[in-house]
Subunit: 129 residues, 2 copies
DNA sequence: CAGTATCCGTTCCGATACTG
DNA sequence: CAGTATCGGAACGGATACTG
């Protein structure tokens, strides 16, 4: 099937590629990177420092995916030592709004959710005995 | 926006708001279930039919997680044959807005993203030779 | 009808070490 | 500096068959 720019997905269709986007957003580091790239371009090392705890291998593969999807651009300056800058594309920037909305929701409600989860864990625990 | 400063330390924290919510939203079926439960309570089989392609085992475990997080309630009527209804809690309903925004972004932009991805694959392919 | 019980392949992602 | 190369554990989720 030839997918055109005018084609709209239907997330309820099991065959729908829309799910690739949900997979993307659900990726462990994607959203962090998108928020870090917010305004200005960032170098590989800057992103790595900003996130903390991500290994170069994983950062590389995550950035590759983002570039492949057209959410991020990679610019390599032919210098020694090497300098590479990553920045958001328009598409990537357009993803920020929904992602930020989600984060806001998280900040407001995560306490309650964690509370529920802990309480449920206790119930399950009591059930087990 | 001062996100990054407070973010850096939280990235390792499993209870970091963004992390918890994104894990949940990034789950393969969560978003679809939340949208399906929209208006009225739904039975196990109804949800299964509506989604299509989900196995009972996976649906069960996903629903369990949603119940544990207090996003969904499970009501079992003591009948034979059994009848069980799932519905959104207030917390679950409040998650709909941001999640729907995300899904709509996905549906609007998946074509471009897939297009980018295909084009990138061709470039990589050419590169390899 | 609404789940359980097993088995199992894939994918993700971290640790560690190395390189142009 | 900006990556690569390898290895391995663990979690996710699908296939299939069974049950109260």
């Amino acid at each position: 099937m030839k997918i055109r720019d005018s084609w709209e997905g239907d997330a309820f269709d099991p065959e729908c590629p829309t799910r690739v986007i949900l997979d993307r957003v659900g990726d462990k580091w994607t959203v962090l990177i998108i928020e870090i790239l917010d305004d200005s371009p960032k170098r590989f090392g800057e992103i790595r420092q900003a996130i903390g705890g991500i290994t170069p291998k994983v950062l590389t593969s995550t950035l590759r995916s983002l570039v492949a999807d057209g959410l991020v651009t990679r610019q390599s300056f032919g210098e020694v030592p090497p300098r590479v800058e990553y920045s958001l594309t328009d598409l990537g920037r357009s993803l920020q709004a929904p992602v930020t909305a989600l984060r806001r929701w998280a900040e407001r409600n995560v306490a309650e959710l964690i509370d529920n989860r802990d309480r449920q864990a206790e119930i399950d625990d009591a059930q087990a005995r």
